[in-house]
Symmetry: C2
Subunit: 132 residues, 2 copies
DNA sequence: TATATCCCTAGTAATTTAGTAGGAATTAAT
DNA sequence: ATTAATTCCTACTAAATTACTAGGGATATA
């Protein structure tokens, strides 16, 4: 039940982009500012791009930029992208063995909702401004 | 960000104990009813015992029993016992590097509180009766 | 005394996480 | 056109964690 460093790193990267909204930031810059290696950040950014959270520009003076205003992107969306959709048990959306059905199901489903509701209420703008 | 099967198994076991409160259940019985192997359950139960959630009796006709009424034991307590105190990031209680300080700290601390508050409101009695 | 149980520790297999590494494709600047 | 900076893609590997398996000792009941 840990948030992976991948998710935390990714969140750091988009927070940095939120603080510099409008400007393209390269992986080199982002790596420097977050302390994550370039190559690993590349992979993380590629996932964020696939999920429509960031856009990219190739070539010299290219880089990454948020695909929308920081106030319109929730922390939840970022974390779900990098954390297997935040599925805290294997059966949030059905299709599980005996352990999941029955008794515990409602418990985990509600916990899942609470977690997502909380994270969806916080925008990258808020996070960047530490206004939480 | 997954709940481990260890935690789910343990929760199943104590739920079974809640349904049979007052009666000692052996690991053999608990293993049968939960579908977990005896040996693995033993380890899980030993952790729960160490954390004061269950009591044990050795020898023939021994087994495990809840250490308190099912309505007095929260799901949160059980899960924290088996899930490294539910520390969703490495620095919930301070002592972390650059990634944890600053920006994301308050985010994770609050999420941690929400998760615990939710799980602490649900008792084993409620869970056993699927009254969630 | 026999048997059923908990208790303790060590080992291992499988999975996931966290990176490393190399190089192709693309674009802007010169 | 050439160069340099960048994203993009894929494969590999190392480390950590999870999920068990296994053996046997200690203890209590019948």
């Amino acid at each position: 039940m840990k948030i992976s460093s991948k998710a935390r790193y990714g969140l750091y990267a988009v927070t940095e982009m939120a603080r510099n909204y409008g400007e393209y930031l390269s992986t080199v810059e982002l790596a420097e500012r977050t302390g994550v290696t370039e190559k690993y950040l590349e992979q993380i950014l590629s996932i964020l791009k696939k999920n429509g959270i960031v856009k990219s520009a190739r070539g010299a003076s290219g880089g990454y930029i948020l695909s929308d205003l920081p106030e319109n992107i929730s922390v939840g969306r970022v974390i779900r992208s990098l954390e297997n959709n935040l599925e805290i048990v294997g059966c949030i959306n059905g299709g599980c063995g005996k352990m999941c059905g029955c008794t515990q199901r409602s418990l985990w489903e509600k916990l899942y909702s609470y977690i997502n509701d909380y994270l969806d209420k916080i925008s990258l703008k808020q996070l960047a401004e530490e206004n939480i």
